[in-house]
Amino acid sequence: MFGVVLALLMIASIIMVSCWDIEEIEDLALISNIAFDVGEFKEYKMTVQILLPEALGGAGKSDGGSGESPVFVINAEGQTAFEANRKLREYLPKRPFYGNTMSAIIGEDLARQGVMPVLNILETDHEFRRSTQLFLATGQGGKVLEAKIRVMANPGDIPMGFVQTLPGISTTVTQNAGDFISQAVGNTMEPVMPVIRVIEADPEIGENPEVRVAGTAAFKKDKLVGFLDEKESGGLLWVLGRVDGVISFQAAKTNESVTIELTRSSSSIEALIDESGNLSVNINIRTEGNLADQTGFADLADPKIRRSIERRLAETIRQEIKSTLNKAQKELKTDVFGFGEVFFRTYPRLWSDTLEPQWDDIYPYIPVNIYVEAHVRRTNLTIEAPVVGGN
């Protein structure tokens, strides 16, 4: 028995150190982020951002290293993403290692052609992860990897930094490769991606290009069909139940600007078919928040004023959703809300037999009812705003 366990451990020790596949970390080029674009000479261009650990500084290097950039960006082209990856090695005497790759940036031109040929590698290859975050770049995706932001010592952390902070402002979505592929392959919901833009800088005065993430790219299957602006992205997030952050509006009675900090939100979508066979959708939103800021002097302890603000908040949310619905249903004609998914779960057989084959024709004309229940629970540390010249 002891011998068997010992033998198993010995065999495991051979297998687990990789046998023929053994690789030392010094022989690997650690890729932080990648970008895919349409190639000039071949079908696809792959740009990789390689981390230079020695430039980041280590123990005893409080200055952050030697002063050189901790990332290095190169690109190569190929008929497939995999071939482009192999071509990179003509310029790189190390093997690119994608086990720590955090995000993939897709160029706009490639997104309009269809992204699945390049995203496939994120699911098929054993090094990549489905949790790799996706961004759509307006223009060239590779340019984004050259951008720098002063507060980020390592430019390789920029995309993931945005992924962590974006949910707090609700002006765009976050999307990982696994969910994107599932939605693009399935027939019940269309995928989206956050939009990242390079802000051009003047190199003559030593500025680096910076980036901004706002707005949402809407896809039909794997092809980009259009964009939702910040407000419309907020509307989408309300429907998906993923909204967070703040919302501002004009209070009806006092006409002052009010900002509500949202603390809790949820949504549910109901698919309905009436006796005549007409389809409709109900969207139910429930949200709570605190009054974070106001420009006027209204007494918020007054229940009438507070109820009026709650009504106005509900109306603002409804309008945001309506404008998003209008854009997605009538203009882009893409079901980014997942209405198809709800019809499928509620009426599976009807969906498979009748609705799914005609969904593209049905979806733009489905009437949608929006019900919003909004509550303002607290006014943070004050009850009344300070009134200039008041008693």
Binding site: M1, G3, V4, V5, A7, L8, I11, A12, I14, I15, M16, S18, C19, W20, D21, G99, H126, E127, R129, R130, S131, G178, I181, S182, V185, G186, E341, F344, R345, P348, R349, S352
Partner: protein, 373 residues
């Protein structure tokens, strides 16, 4: 050398042969036929497999000193009994070849692309030969040793992805009628009954054999089936049916999405460790069944044929050029051949046993009358 096992070891062997490599491969195969109804199909299929196991235990308790090949010969006659034994041998041989190939192919798919497949498959077969040379008692203790680590590691995996689980992905249930449920149940049954042949061979090796063996069998099946159910439900819950249908090994993908805090990820290597043990146990148990059946068919010591048979299986597993070829050549007999064998078992062995009992009773009755006179 000891050739007896305890009832507890028997139960653990039943659980491990049910989990074995199935926990990694079944979610996809089931999702392809039963889709959202996979959990229901699994329960039905494994329930039926348990019932078949009960029948085999009932038959075995009637012949406590014989394996099911030996008593098949007694109750069906030497020719039909041997024919039945040959059929079971062929089925298990095919399953073993599939498992040996899969044991190696999984490492290659997981990224060990430069290492020849024979290294992984050969190491697994070599170790299983060594275990079997030591006898069933050592196999039982190896199973006992790995039982808790294996079950806990597999059971913890769904807990680590609970934040990524969407209950919506598990529905709709029974939306497309009974056909997908029954097709899935048939598949689950064909995999679940692999344990029945082990049960048929092991009963005669159990110390202090009594009717408590029914309970031990039930525990073994329930724990094994529950772990598989957990894996099927969690992979569907996290990825959805459509994604699982595309994945080679869905639980491996599940391990890849585990992220605890910002620092624990990449735990798929642990799953590969579990796989190493699970595939070793499955290859060993299948090899044990094969050599025992063959030794009882051709009347030789099972220890003398372990090495040649293991070499034959390894060669057959390595001979095809690609995995698809292996699947197409060995799945038909291995996976789908098991169903007719199981049906034959119920349709022929049970009535034959009843007839045999009646005949023996008649004979004994006559003899005792004679003695009384």
């Amino acid at each position: 050398m000891q050739e007896k096992i305890s009832k507890g070891q028997f139960s653990k062997l039943v659980t491990l042969i049910i989990i074995s490599t199935v926990f990694l491969t079944l979610p996809r195969r089931l999702a392809l036929v039963a889709q959202w109804d996979s959990p229901i199909s699994l329960v039905l299929g494994y329930g039926a497999a348990w019932f078949l196991g009960v029948i085999v235990i009932w038959l075995s308790l009637k012949h406590p000193n014989d394996t099911f090949i030996e008593y098949s010969k007694k109750i069906l006659g030497p020719y039909l009994g041997s024919l039945f034994g040959i059929m079971v041998f062929l089925v298990i041989m095919n399953l073993n070849i599939l498992t040996i190939r899969l044991a190696g192919a999984t490492y290659i798919a997981a990224g060990y692309t430069q290492t020849p497949i024979i290294v992984f498959a050969g190491a697994t077969v070599l170790l299983s030969v060594w275990i079997l040379k030591e006898g069933i008692e050592v196999l039982a203790r190896v199973a006992e040793f790995f039982y808790f680590p294996l079950i806990l590691s597999i059971a913890i995996l769904p807990l680590t992805v609970i934040d990524k689980l969407s209950l919506d992905n598990l529905f709709p249930l029974l939306a497309f009628g009974l056909e997908p449920v029954l097709s899935g149940a048939m598949l689950a049954f064909s995999i679940g009954i692999e344990h029945v042949f082990l049960v048929g061979l092991l009963i005669s090796k159990i110390q202090n054999l009594d009717k408590k063996v029914y309970h031990q069998h039930l525990y073994g099946v329930v724990i094994g089936a529950f772990i598989i159910l957990l894996m099927v439900a969690s992979t569907i819950g996290v990825f959805g049916v459509a994604d699982i249908q595309r994945f080679y090994l869905p639980p491996y993908q599940l391990a890849k999405v585990v992220e605890i805090g910002a620092f624990i990820n990449g735990i798929e290597i642990i799953l590969l460790g579990i796989w190493t043990i699970a595939s070793l146990l499955e290859v060993t148990i299948f090899l044990y069944i094969s050599v025992h059946i063959l030794s009882q068919l051709i009347y030789v010591s099972y220890r003398d044929i372990i090495v040649p048979l293991a070499y034959l299986f390894l060669s057959m597993a390595m001979a095809p050029m690609d995995n698809h070829q292996v699947e197409s050549e060995f799945t038909i007999v291995g996976q789908f051949g098991i169903l007719p064998v199981a049906l034959l078992l119920v349709a022929f062995l049970v009535p034959a046993q009843l007839f045999y009992q009646w005949k023996t009773k008649q004979k004994l009755g006559g003899d005792s009358n004679k003695e009384a006179k």
